[in-house]
């Protein structure tokens, strides 16, 4: 399944109307050792680019924005005890949450993997 990226370094994978969300490997690397992931509340509804969750590392505390709209239907509760999963596997096992009810058309305003790689080169 194709990943799409935001300028704020979130990634999203959409399966129909369900979206899996995480932060990019680049972001995880930049943050350094991640100490806490503030998971969103189940049932919370967000619009695209709203604040969705929070993440803290030894270096910084940052917001995680919703790459697409939707309602939180699942959170990766493994991160409660093992936030380091985001460092180890940001774009697979370290996913943050799943949103339901999103509009795949919103992906149009995001970058695909190639465009994101280009974007990172320019930072």
């Amino acid at each position: 399944m194709a990943k799409f990226f935001t300028k704020e370094h979130e990634w999203v994978e959409m399966d129909g109307t369900q979206a899996t969300v995480g932060i990019s490997e680049h972001a995880a690397h930049e943050l350094g050792d991640i100490t806490f992931v503030e998971l969103p509340q189940m049932g919370k509804s967000v619009k695209q680019f709203d604040t969705l969750a929070g993440i803290e590392s030894v270096k910084a505390a940052s917001d995680i924005y919703a790459p697409v709209s939707g309602r939180v239907v699942q959170v990766n509760d493994k991160l409660e005890d093992a936030p380091e999963l985001v460092n180890e596997s940001a774009e697979a096992d370290g996913w943050i949450c799943k949103l339901e009810g999103g509009d795949p058309a919103e992906l149009g305003s995001l970058m695909d993997a190639a465009a994101y790689a280009e974007y990172l080169k320019g930072l």
Partner: protein, 445 residues
């Protein structure tokens, strides 16, 4: 580098940035009554002259008056160790403990303070203190909004009226809604409180013992709140916790209160400290400083400020609170007081308060025309119904050197004849008997 702030040039620049014509225009939103009338201060004076003025002010501030006043702040014994230890230069002059490498004493004391507050309140996590009881209730209300993502709090009107005002003041600038629930007599109206909790309620806020002195059991209210996904916030009186079930035992999610009664003198209004403690799972939503225990690279125990990502020097406007300081020295006094008493001492102190107040309650309640309004149990405070307006009676007894209590009329319209009387361990039988005699005389004449 020159340090001359606010030159006329700088003032012009700053005003230009915010688009105000003058300093006067900048301050215009502050109501006239709250503005300084003049900045013309008198000339400086010698230490000797100043001490004379301070002595005169201290003498005019209630010295020689026997207080039966409580209502949130109390006249308790302060063991000599509190003044002595808190006055040590290592504690007295230590400011913000940002640097663990040179602040281990202060950090360890605050860590122990947090432990003491958790043990007293039956909670799992405390911060390093807040300003006072009222702001602690308000911070707890804000916490409940953050935790639940909801927008309404239910406020029991038998909570200290000054604290209620602070909560409403804090919430007024947010879009949060406050639903007040009037008391039933001198007790909390539990049925109406429970009926006010719905799926939009962030928290129910109550006080134990309440402002009328009634001791309540909020266990069923906690269960009802949790059923609806709401939190229970209990404001409590630490000295009562030696006898009364703690907020934690009742199922509360956040316990708050004023810490003045723990080793801090009344001092004509402060400084005091507030405390706030919660369940471990809500610790990231606590406002203010938290001290944690850790080990250094040699494996030795040490203390540091922890979970700082909550705070505004990291998270700016997204911080849990704009509180970034605490009342370290007052909290330290609270710790020394608590440590000096210990668990057994707390129980004995609470029992002494209860026993003396029970004596006063039966003694005063027996006066002709006077009745006790509390239907249930009380701790060291109770509410009397007088045959005359309470404020006038208090005024009259002040002339005889006795402050009889807090008249309720100012806070609860319709209760002009009600008086809240407080009896701490410091009041002797002779003093209580004198209050009874003076009250009887004032009411009969």
């Amino acid at each position: 580098m020159g340090y001359c702030p606010n030159t006329p040039e700088e003032i012009r620049e700053m005003l230009a940035v915010i688009g105000a014509e003058s300093v006067e225009e900048l301050f215009a939103p502050i109501p006239g009554g709250l503005r300084a009338k003049s900045f013309d201060l008198p000339a400086g004076m010698s230490e000797f002259e100043l001490m004379g003025i301070m002595r005169a002010k201290a003498a005019a501030g209630g010295a020689g008056i026997t207080p039966f006043i409580g209502g949130g702040l109390y006249d308790h014994v302060i063991p000599a160790a509190v003044d002595h230890l808190s006055g040590r230069a290592e504690f007295y002059t230590a400011y913000t403990p940002y640097q663990p490498e040179c602040s281990q004493g202060t950090l360890q004391a605050l860590y122990e303070y947090q432990t003491a507050i958790c043990r007293l309140t039956g909670m799992e996590a405390s911060n390093a203190s807040l300003y006072d009881g009222g702001t602690a209730v308000a911070e707890a209300a804000l916490m409940s909004l953050r935790i639940t993502g909801r927008n309404r709090v239910v406020l029991d009107a038998s909570l200290n009226p000054l604290h209620r005002e602070i909560v409403c003041g804090y919430l007024a600038s947010l879009s949060a809604e406050v639903t007040g629930v009037a008391p039933s007599g001198c007790g909390s109206d539990l049925d109406r409180l429970m009926g006010s909790i719905d799926a939009e309620t962030a928290a129910v806020i109550v006080q134990n013992p309440n402002f009328f002195g009634s001791v309540e059991d909020f266990s069923a209210l906690a269960a009802k709140a949790h059923e609806q996904g709401a939190l229970l916030i209990v404001s409590c009186y630490p000295i009562a916790l030696g006898l009364v079930a703690s907020p934690g035992e009742m199922g509360a999610d956040i316990a708050v209160g004023d810490g003045q009664s723990l080793g801090n003198p009344l001092s004509f209004g402060g400084p005091y400290f507030g405390f706030i403690a919660t369940r471990k799972r809500f610790i990231r939503n606590l406002p203010g400083r938290i001290v944690g225990e850790t080990v250094d690279k040699m494996g030795r125990r040490g203390y540091v400020l922890t979970l700082q990502a909550r705070e505004q020097h990291i998270k700016r406007h997204k911080a849990t609170s704009n509180i970034c300081s605490n009342q370290s020295l007052c909290a330290l006094r609270g710790l020394i007081f608590s440590t000096a008493l210990g668990k057994k001492g707390f129980e004995e102190l609470a029992l002494l308060n209860y026993d003396k107040a029970q004596y006063a309650k039966s003694r005063l309640g027996a006066i002709k025309g006077v009745s006790v309004l509390n239907a249930g149990p009380t701790f060291n405070e109770f509410t009397l119904s007088l045959p005359k307006e309470a404020a006038l009676v208090v005024e009259r007894l002040l002339g005889s050197g006795v402050a009889a209590g807090v008249p309720l009329g100012e806070y609860y319209p319709g209760m002009e004849h009600a008086l809240v009387v407080t009896v701490t361990e410091k009041r002797s039988k002779t003093e209580i008997d004198r209050l009874a005699a003076l009250l009887e005389e004032a009411l009969c004449s």
